[in-house]
Amino acid sequence: MDVSVFCFLASYLCAFGLECRRLYHRTGLTRACVLLFAAAGLVAHTLYLWNRHAQTGLPPLMSSTHDWVLVLAWMAILVYLFLLVADRQLAIGVFLLPLVLALVGLAYLVSREPTQIVRDTPEMREVAGRAWAMLHATLLVFGIAAAIFGLVLSLMYLVQHHRLRHKHARNEGLILPNLERLARLNNWAVVLSVPLLTLGLLTGVVLGWLARKGSESLSFSDPVVVGSAVAWLVLVAFFVWFAGTPARRTSGRQVAWLTVMAFGFLLVTLIGLQVLTGHLGNSWHAATEGGWSRSHEEASTLAEARAGGRIDVIARPAMPQLAQREARRS
């Protein structure tokens, strides 16, 4: 079935609109409609990812930034639907759906083409099929998902805190969990996201090292690697403060603000880098011209060229870097 990004973007947009309406007019029908739109969106989203997998022959987490971002949004929607079914009152949609919409919208901006690291080097194409590459992408996506939930929980904490400090009772529309529960869940999000992202970066280093064995030009000064490392350092600094400061010295509100800032910075940096890598020719996370159909063909040609000791056939205008690299090697 042919499904476009717009199909589920529109569904999520409708679900978000209805979630906003639920703030003022809470009925069973509105909730049912929210469920319907979100579930329809999820089905379309799943079909789209499946179709992409069928086209590229790789898991969506590894095929392109576009697919990777959509997997992240897909996970968030899955959790959202679970919470929507489990708790009839909870108003998580107004916090989570904008982030999902932003991620799906971002999928339009980032490249649908394979990243250079996967596309250009036969070694990487082999590695990509292996556990390391999958582990790298999975750990990062779970780490970022935990960061997204930490961000959402902290925002909910701040809204609830503001409401209670200003002596507004539980609003009939915006029903949020209590502060104690939000703080506890936020702690879990922080405790999960930092190790996951750390392991994700470490597996990335291993992956890079494996790639360098076959391609000398892969450098750890890649802008995506450097940017991610900086975001990770900020997160680790926050984590050290979070774990090291006695609970009696910090208020829940302070923790929530710092979580919003740390996770916000992390998401903006990582997502910003994903957008920028589309235009950064010197990053191995960047996408290249040409699609998967050409990429497969080119990769085979490369392998043949290397085996036969001739490289001239791949010196195409669309792939100057690759040609130069292979020329150096030969």
Binding site: R165, K167, A169, N178, E180, G252
Partner: protein, 425 residues
């Protein structure tokens, strides 16, 4: 068919009158049903007795002698040995659709002192169960009370009449306390003073599962009494600062003329305990906590009686907005119920009509079969089916007319005409 209710409720009677007429024990109710059966034989009855109302619902298939307001008043008087003049002016009598509407309003909590309170439906269910136990119900009251419970469910699901808390203590614990804390069983509650409001708040906190309760009061005796009633501990007044530091929830209801805790004192306490959430309910008037205490740090959640009353008023306003919707449901249900009752009243006449016509049919068929003995069983069955269809077709217009007429009220005229036109004397 007749339905009546004689009631003495919070709308017309003071508590001291209602108390005198109440049926508070099972034994009293058993005796009351005995007396009702003796006084009004052939009448179905259900007694509803709560702190806000005492009501007697009666119904009869034969409407010759329905017990009216005076008879029920005499029943109250005889049973409770209370002179009539003390309460007779506070009795309200309704019959027919008005009685039905009244029960539907009562059970839907539209007639309650606290609009939308949820207890009344269980109280009515219990009253109906007890009436059934004493064989006091019949077809009409069964139909009426079953329908009333359905109506209350409809009002609860289709309106927001029961949403939002409306008492200070319930708003304090339910709306604010439970928005701060996930659980109360690991929390320490400090009660300063021992007023009524503190006791009511403790009831809600206890329902929420609160762990440790400490009562600090200038008068130790009252503190000991309150602590014993709620499974807590009484502590001397000079330990106040220590318990201010230990408490997660503070409920204060002293009669002090000036605040007993100011910002400086509380800041000193917080310096020892650290920044953890503390929920302070200042229910004293004048206030026991200086409003500046709320600004000591951002984990102090301080609410005074005005803050809570504002929420109560808002919730009451929201409930009132739903009242019209609830009334519409009740009116609609009353109308449907009465149509069913009126139509049901035509049941015996319709049954008689069907019976007579079927007798005629059978007589004519017997004559026909004697004349045509050669008819086979299959032919006889076909003839019987045809005649049955004719009878049904002939009966359809008058029955439909009866049903239509029952929408407007008891179809006495039409019923009489049907009897005269179609029934043999």
């Amino acid at each position: 068919m007749k339905l009546q209710v004689v009631s003495c409720s919070h709308r017309v009677a003071a508590l001291d009158v209602r108390e005198k007429l109440a049926f508070s024990t099972d034994e009293q109710l058993a005796r009351a049903y005995q007396l009702l059966k003796l006084s009004f034989p052939g009448s179905e009855s259900v007694l509803v007795s709560t702190c806000n109302r005492v009501e007697v619902y009666t119904a009869q298939e034969d409407a010759e002698h329905p017990p009216g307001r005076d008879e029920i008043a005499r029943f109250f008087s005889d049973f409770h040995h209370v002179p009539l003049e003390i309460f007779v002016g506070d009795l309200l009598s309704q019959s027919g659709p008005e009685a039905v509407r009244h029960l539907f309003s009562v059970v839907s909590s539209v007639d309650s002192m606290v609009l939308g309170e949820p207890q009344i439906v269980n109280q009515v269910k219990e009253a109906y169960r007890i009436a059934q136990e004493h064989d006091a119900c019949g077809p009409l009251t069964n139909m009426l009370f079953h329908r009333a419970i359905e109506v209350s469910k409809r009002v609860r699901t289709e309106t927001r009449l029961s949403e939002g808390r409306v008492s200070i203590a319930s708003v304090a614990v339910g709306d604010f306390g439970q928005s701060i804390f996930d659980r109360f069983d690991d929390k320490t509650v400090l009660v300063i003073g021992a007023g009524e409001m503190a006791e009511e708040t403790l009831r809600y906190l206890k329902d929420a599962g609160v762990g440790q309760i400490v009562v600090v009061n200038r008068t130790p005796d009252r503190a000991v009494e309150l602590a014993a009633a709620w499974g807590g501990a009484a502590r001397p007044w000079d330990e106040l600062d220590r318990w201010l530091a230990a408490a997660d929830v503070i409920v204060s209801t002293t009669g002090a003329e000036r605040p007993i805790v100011d910002a400086a004192r509380f800041a000193k306490v917080r310096a020892e305990t650290g920044i953890r959430p503390v929920f302070i309910l200042d229910l004293g008037a004048p206030r026991d906590f200086d409003p500046a205490v709320g600004a000591v740090d951002d984990s102090v959640f301080l609410y005074d009686i005005d803050d809570l009353e504002k929420t109560c008023a808002e919730n009451r306003r929201l409930r009132s907005r739903e009242l019209e919707k609830a009334q519409r449901i009740i009116d609609e249900a009353t109308e449907t119920f009465m149509q069913e009752v009126y139509y049901r009243a035509t049941g015996p006449a319709i049954a008689r009509l069907r019976e007579e016509w079927h007798d005629i049919r059978q007589q004519e068929l017997d004559v026909l079969y004697q004349k045509l003995p050669h008819l086979e069983a299959r032919d006889r069955a076909a003839i019987e089916r045809s005649i049955e269809r004719i009878i049904n077709k002939l009966l359809h217009p008058p029955l439909k007319a009866l049903k239509d007429e029952a929408r407007e009220g008891p179809p006495h005229g039409l019923l009489e005409a049907l009897k005269r036109l179609f029934l043999r004397e």
